[in-house]
């Protein structure tokens, strides 16, 4: 069955979620990945939205982080300060999803500026919740197209911490979360090695190590045992296309 890059990334991200995980969800692709996981192998996934919604059961595809469909029928709604203190900082979040314009060799993310901070060439949206999600969620996942400009050796600005300069620097900073555990791209999956460097650990069907290396801004290492991901199943694609995003808003 045919599928596009978005579908491939969303399905592979969904598979990383475990049943019972408490997930800090953003709208868009992470929301689709979580809802897909909940309808397949992780029925007890608990979704927390940055806007302060716990246990949401959106009846339609949410189009913004504060969509009213997240509230109606949820288990609990609290203030933003509560979400960041009682849930995230307290260590009640298992999984966070992150995104950004640049992700570097050690999983640090830039969502702030391209160029110098005071005179930005491109001004990006900024941290939002991601600085704290990256620090305090037990595991973080990133979905991004595999392009050289998105994977520089070093980000222009560290909006949220990956493994910093590697070699235990993150642990030394005393952050409770485990950092980025996987970057899912359209070519494969990157995971941190022992030093915190992001290395290729899996390829999607039909993709090659050379492709991944050509599209990465640092000399990309591959795991000794390079996995091949299972192709998206008919069922996964059906749920995604027919149930979750029938208007193809995030699946384009």
């Amino acid at each position: 069955m045919e599928y596009n890059a978005s579908e491939l990334m969303i399905i592979n991200a969904a598979r990383l979620l475990r049943d019972g995980d408490v997930v800090f969800v953003g709208v868009g692709q992470p929301n689709l990945a979580c809802n897909l996981a909940r309808r397949t192998h992780a029925p007890n996934l608990l979704m927390i939205y940055e806007a302060g919604v716990i246990g949401a059961r959106p009846a339609r595809l949410p189009l913004s982080i504060g969509d009213p469909t997240l509230v109606s029928g949820a288990s609990l709604v609290c203030s933003m300060y509560d979400v960041f203190t009682l849930y995230l900082q307290r260590g009640n979040v298992d999984v966070g999803f992150l995104g950004g314009a640049q992700i570097d060799r050690y999983g640090n993310i830039n969502a702030t500026v391209i160029g110098p901070y005071d005179h930005p060439k491109v001004r990006l949206p900024g941290s939002g919740g991601s600085q704290e999600i990256a620090a305090w969620a037990n595991r973080c996942y990133i979905m991004t197209p595999h392009q050289k400009r998105r994977f520089p050796e070093k980000v222009d600005f560290v909006t949220s911490a990956g493994f910093l300069n590697g070699n235990g620097e993150r642990q030394a900073a005393g952050l409770r979360g485990g950092g980025p555990q996987a970057v899912v791209t359209n070519l494969g999956i990157l995971e941190p090695d022992d030093s915190g460097e992001m290395i290729l650990t899996a390829l999607h069907p039909g993709c090659t190590l050379e492709q991944a290396q050509e599209n990465t801004g640092w000399p990309l290492k591959a795991a000794s045992q390079l996995r091949l991901t299972e192709p998206p199943t008919t069922e996964e694609l059906r749920i995604l296309r027919d149930e979750l995003d029938p208007d193809r808003i995030y699946l384009k």
Binding site: V22, L46, I54, G55, P68, A74, S75, T85, R90, N92
Partner: protein, 300 residues
Amino acid sequence: MSKVCSLKEAVASYVKDGDTLYAAGFTHLIPFAAGHEIIRQGRKNLTLARATPDLIYDQMVAAGCARKVIFSYMGNPGVGSLRIVRSELEAGRLEWEEYSHFGMITRLSAGASGLPFLPMKQTGAADLEKANPNIRRVTDPYSGEEVVVVPALNPDVAIVHVQRADRSGNAHIWGILGEQKEAAFAARHVILTAEELVDEEVIRSDPNRSMIPGFIVDAVCEVPFASHPSYTQGYYDRDNAFYLSWDQISESPEAVRAWLDEWVYGVQDRAEYWQKLGAETHERLRVTPNLSSPVNYGAY
């Protein structure tokens, strides 16, 4: 995921000798049923933390459960002295650690927030600061002035009584909120007692009314009338007569012993206790319904 069990099972599983316990509720929703179950199961050496120890800790101290109390106002609310805790403390048989209400609640808030401490403005009343080495100072890096700080309190167990909860532990609370939410988030384990278990659709019909999410709760116990002689807003009134009579009972160790024998050791659970209180008390504490105006969440 259902977390429903009996209060007996919940206490057996989550309250250990030597634990720090926070039985939450400022005057309202005090979890007496759980306190009595802990007495029946004979727990020892507990550190009992509560802004107002109230009769629940007086009774637990009398029953020999406690090694230490952490508090901010040690009285029989609206009546006078909290005789047992007070005399144990005056006699040097009970350790204590003391704050103002704000200091106590701030400790719990820091614990609930995952912070090591939280600041408060200075009050000029420094004697407690001298007496309690946990109360310290930090310099405000903006003004150069000092603020007072207290460390996070993270109890081993919090017991929180609520009006209604679903089987997963998502709980609606209304009326005086005290420190129910902070205690639940600060603690390592949470035992919830509820006046009634309701269908999760009732909870989900009003998510802004939820104070505690089920996923941080360990045990959910349906225990009607769990907070007598305290009260549950909308369910029954505070039994002020009992608060007054405890003032008499607690004057004599024999009377306290007899009371514990009859009302705690002598009953199996809260249902039996409530039956034993009798129809007259039930009638006296009955409350006329007075419903909130509903709000419209909209179907989106």
